[in-house]
């Protein structure tokens, strides 16, 4: 699909990758159709939105809690609202966006289920990426050291972490089932940012996937 709509997508994507674009962002960019309307919830400094705009011609909007990050987004020419995913998504009309993205943010929301429900209402499709708390390294930390895991991707101590709702790939899949969300695509990346083989069962994904990306829609 991407190839048909955008013939030199692969070469342009390679250029963005060479310029330092994050691998999980590029994976999300693969899933977005050209010219789509996108809402990025918890958009940080706007690097994903800027990538989607520049690589995919997306018409993007963002929500971000931190004012300094909002200022960085403004300087990138992005339309970003200083606000809170938990409080502000209720104000968005139904079907306002082609994609609503929650990139590495679900664990920081206070009511992940409500946030996901709103996203499924606001967007035709929903993309969620998160650090998998079921990854073997996390499990090892807890089992062997008896301590809450602190890794490169989860660098906070338990007492100062903004991440209050970690989940595993299995947890997330069962939440999707509960919400009646259809899974259109799922990708897990291992510690070296390589996709985990699709043929493997869920338990293996849950063990080997360091981060996961899901593309969902309402059933």
């Amino acid at each position: 699909m991407s190839r048909r709509d955008d013939p030199d997508y692969a070469s342009r994507k390679a250029a963005f990758a060479a310029a330092g674009a994050r691998s999980d962002h590029l994976l999300l960019a693969d899933m977005v159709t050209p010219g789509a309307r996108v809402l990025d919830v918890g958009c940080g400094d706007g690097s994903l939105l800027a990538l989607l705009r520049d690589l995919r011609g997306a018409d993007g909007r963002g929500v971000e809690l931190d004012r300094e990050n909002v200022n960085k987004c403004l300087a990138k020419g992005l339309a970003v609202i200083q606000g809170d995913a938990d409080a502000d998504l209720a104000d968005y009309p139904d079907d306002a966006f082609d994609y609503v993205i929650l990139s590495q943010t679900i664990q920081a929301t206070s009511r992940p289920k409500d946030v996901l429900e709103h996203m499924l209402r606001i967007g035709s499709k929903v993309m969620v990426s998160f650090q998998n708390f079921g990854h073997w390294r996390v499990r090892l930390d807890l089992v062997l050291r008896g301590r809450m895991p602190v890794t490169e991707n989860l660098p906070y101590s338990w007492y100062d972490t903004p991440n209050i709702h970690h989940c595993t790939i299995r947890d997330f899949v069962s939440l999707c089932d509960e919400l009646g969300a259809r899974m259109e695509r799922a990708v897990a990346l291992d510690s070296w940012d390589r996709p985990v083989r699709v043929s493997l069962p869920w338990w293996a994904w849950n063990l080997l996937g360091q981060q996961a990306v899901f593309l969902l829609h309402r059933s």
Partner: protein, 390 residues
């Protein structure tokens, strides 16, 4: 020491012959006003900074607040004080006059050279006074649009303003969407709240209760409702601050004395400060203008002209917005700005919103607020880039 009489004379002179640029519209170039009146002839006083570039894409319009004027970035010809937004506008500043052509006009109904109640009514040869037709925010914007037509500025890179200026920004985007590329309403609202109307009404009643107001004909009598206008200003000034600012600046400190005097003198520093604010204001500002402009703000309700639904005011908008509020502003609190943001979202507009942390209350938008400046600079520079302004 300020020579108050001289100040008053200079302020009075500004109404008809301002010390700034003036665009004059003849008897057949009427300004059609919301109240049904047609104003002609009329004039609009303005200042410009920087140069309009060859393809006319770098114009920025600044809309001033209730008691502001066109002297954004140059000393006031009346008080000699530096321009009211000099922190923000100038060479190398967020609104960079080395890159942008900046225009600011005195609002319709003002007293600094744009036609208003202190101007001479050509039909009678006397000041309009309360014969001047009631002004709305939309009338102010129409007047500015006619000025821009004359200046050959068909569309604006950005319209920016705080408070009543922010109301004008929203009105600009709603009334002339195709002329506004980007808009930055600061510490503003899409409608004036009941609380704010209440404060304005107290101020107006103070002015009109002063015998020297003389039914609005004080200029003809050579008097001024000094006491009434000073009280109005004192009351309003409190609404521009915040409890924490008042506490920090004044607390319960006494004014040049060791103990209370057991009288109604200005024992406390805050009293002395407010009295000073009142006294200096009455010499530079026309009391009738104060009545008209507060009324214009009271009448402002952008949703009203769109069936009560604010989102409709911005239907199919292509303007980029940056809405800003301040945490300690209780006159135009953050929820007022958020209501604008929600409406723009519902209309599919490209809207950004920033809430600046400040304890300085509503006045923060006029002060040196680095966080506001960096947000504004990022937004304006990005807009300029998108429009190909170098």
């Amino acid at each position: 020491m300020v020579d108050l009489a001289k100040l008053a004379d200079e302020a009075r002179a500004q109404a008809d012959e301002p010390a700034s640029l003036v665009m004059r519209f003849s008897a057949d170039e009427q300004l059609a006003m919301d109240c049904g009146a047609s104003l002609a002839p009329w004039q609009i006083a303005y200042q410009t900074y920087g140069e309009l570039d060859a393809d006319r894409r770098n114009a920025i319009l600044i809309c001033h607040a209730l008691t502001g004027d066109q002297h954004v970035a140059n000393p006031s010809p009346v008080t000699g004080k530096s321009g009211w937004w000099e922190f923000f506008v100038g060479p190398g500043k967020p609104i960079d006059t080395d890159r942008f052509f900046v225009i600011c006009a005195n609002v319709l109904g003002g007293c600094m050279g744009t036609t208003g109640p202190a101007s001479t009514n050509p039909e009678t040869g006397r000041p309009y006074g309360v014969d001047f037709p009631l002004v709305t925010i939309r009338d102010m914007v129409r007047a500015q649009a006619m000025l821009l037509d004359r200046l050959g500025v068909s569309d604006l890179l950005c319209v920016i303003g705080g408070s009543m200026g922010g109301m004008q920004v929203l009105q600009w985007a709603a009334l002339y969407p195709e002329r506004v590329f980007a808009a930055m309403p600061i510490a503003a609202a899409a409608r004036h709240s009941a609380q704010n109307i209440a404060f304005h009404e107290v101020g107006r009643q103070a002015i009109m209760a002063d015998p020297d107001w003389a039914g609005g004909r004080y200029l003809e009598q050579g008097s001024r409702p000094r006491k009434g206008l000073a009280v109005a200003r004192m009351g309003a000034h409190v609404t521009y601050l915040s409890e924490s600012t008042l506490h920090r600046k004044f607390g319960r400190k006494l004014q040049s004395r060791e103990a209370p005097t057991f009288s109604f003198d200005a024992d406390f520093q805050i009293e002395s400060y407010l009295r000073h604010q009142g006294i200096t204001f009455v010499e530079r500002f026309d009391a009738n203008s104060y009545l008209y402009l507060t009324r214009a703000m009271d009448y402002f309700d952008l949703a009203e002209e769109h069936g009560g639904i604010l989102a409709r005011a911005f239907r199919r908008t292509r303007t980029r917005y940056c809405v800003m509020s301040f945490t300690s502003d209780w006159l135009f609190p953050t929820p007022d700005s958020r209501a604008v943001v929600h409406a723009l979202n519902a209309a599919g507009g490209a809207v950004s919103f920033v809430e600046i942390e400040s304890d300085k209350g509503h006045d923060a938008f006029l002060l040196d607020e680095p966080d506001m400046f960096s947000a504004a600079r990022g937004f304006i520079d990005a807009a300029a880039r998108m429009r190909g302004v170098t």
